[in-house]
């Protein structure tokens, strides 16, 4: 049971045993949210900054609740109300935040790789809450935890990821982690929204919904990201819905024990029928509940450990500290 990550920037290249450690830790944190007093003192006195350059309700709230249930102090910064709107660069924002000594920074940014850039400029752990079309690791981890609760062995499962794969960081993080854990991953959608390059990461590509979900153990729907649709990837929303909306008929093609996931927010009637989203196969609300546990686990693994590293790295220094303070006091 090792955990060597310093940041959580993505799941690409993270070994299976470390993903399992994250999931096991998250599973044990679920119980805290069921208590009357939903708080443990683990990160007391620690500061977590939520730096959100894109709007978010679910993820930001989930991270904030997770930090608070571990007794950390949280600060929310959104791009609209910050000096970003005054033209400050990301690196300068990072340096300034660093100077206030936070213990972790949670970042969501519209540009792929923004979290990697930040990680080079600050010394505290960075948690990626979604960067552009790149990765959204905590979402994939909560998806994995939700899948694992229904299908304990992820290796050997067939997971169909359906929809706007091109713009989806959720799909990429899930693809990497699911392949690492030994699942079969199908990416399903119109050719314009399913990049052929992803086959190189071990995905099967399907352009027909029925083929994609047939005999699947898990169907993961993606949101059609209308705000990212600069060019026309499909003729009309109606046409997209006609071919790729997950209806009850489509669900019947999957295995009888299939579960349906969706990262939210839902476009009801566009990518998923309401009868499916609210139906017996849907585990969408479990995903939201598990999100808090996953984020608590990651804050614990990254922040509690970074405290440990600071303590052992600074062992020679504390002896000097009181001396300096004393002379300072006399002067």
């Amino acid at each position: 049971m090792g955990f060597t990550q310093r940041h959580l920037l993505g799941l690409e290249g993270v070994p299976a045993d470390e993903i399992t450690t994250m999931l096991d830790t998250a599973a044990s944190f679920k119980e805290i949210s069921e208590r009357d007093i939903k708080k443990v003192p683990t990160l007391r006195g620690k500061t977590v900054i939520n730096l959100f350059y894109e709007t978010s309700t679910r993820t930001r709230t989930s991270f904030e609740i997770a930090a608070k249930r571990l007794s950390a102090d949280t600060i929310n910064i959104s791009a609209a109300s910050s000096s970003v709107s005054k033209g400050e660069t990301l690196a300068d924002t990072a340096r300034n935040l660093e100077a206030m000594r936070p213990d972790a920074i949670v970042v969501r940014h519209p540009s792929s790789g923004a979290c990697h850039l930040l990680a080079r400029h600050v010394s505290c752990p960075i948690l990626n809450a979604g960067d552009g079309c790149h990765e959204h690791p905590t979402q994939a981890l909560l998806d994995l935890l939700t899948i694992r609760e229904r299908h304990p062995k992820i290796a050997g499962l067939t997971v169909a990821i359906v929809g706007d794969v091109l713009h989806s960081r959720v799909a990429r993080s899930n693809l990497h982690a699911l392949r690492t854990l030994g699942a079969t991953v199908r990416l399903v959608g119109p050719p314009t929204l399913v990049p052929r390059e992803l086959a190189a990461f071990g995905a099967e590509l399907h352009h027909n919904l029925a083929d994609g979900v047939r005999d699947a153990d898990v169907v993961m729907m993606l949101r059609i990201q209308r705000e990212r649709q600069g060019a026309n990837f499909f003729p009309t929303l109606d046409e997209y819905s006609h071919y790729f909306c997950l209806t009850e008929d489509a669900v019947r093609l999957a295995k009888p024990h299939v579960i349906i996931l969706h990262p939210g927010p839902l476009n009801r009637g566009l990518e998923i029928a309401s009868t499916v989203a609210d139906g017996p196969y849907s585990v969408i609300m479990d995903q939201v509940t598990n999100g808090v546990a996953v984020r608590m686990a990651l804050l614990y693994l990254l922040v509690a450990r970074s405290k440990a590293e600071d303590a052992s790295a600074g062992e020679a220094e504390p002896a000097l500290e009181p001396l300096r303070r004393r002379t300072g006091g006399r002067a």
Binding site: F3, S28, F29, P41, A304
Partner: protein, 179 residues
Amino acid sequence: MTANGRQVMDALAIQRALVRIAHEILERNKGTEELALIGIRSRGVHLAERIRKAIGEIEGGVPPPFGVVDITLYRDDLDRGLESPVVQGTDIPFPVDGRRILLIDDVLFTGRTVRAAMDALVDFGRPQWIQLAVLVDRGHRELPIRADYVGKNLPTSRREQVQVRLAEADGVDEVVIES
């Protein structure tokens, strides 16, 4: 493993100590009313199960409820150079309010584990009281904590290590001092 160690309790000695503790618990509390056992992960859990079984055999009827507390999230040494310890989770399947809680661990040393366990417990409610049972008390307390029931008092030096091995986890029942 016992090459540089000295065995101070064998399986029979452990069994006798636990049965005696079970009797003492029943005598002091005049039965099992409102009593609940909580083991501290990981060895304390096995000891709590055994004491619970012994109480059931002595008293008959339904043995007292049983829970598990993981103190990892309440430790005061998370920043002392340890790897993030694995969190295995707390499981207390009954309301703590008004209960007489018997906290059970293998070794009582500095008292910091017990402090953390009590902090965890009171987050679940307000017990009537909490008592402490340990298999071994090795001294060197750093907090004002003492055990109500002790299997064996074991004078040790600070540098020595006391290993409690239990069949459920280690395949053998013994207590060993290693220097």
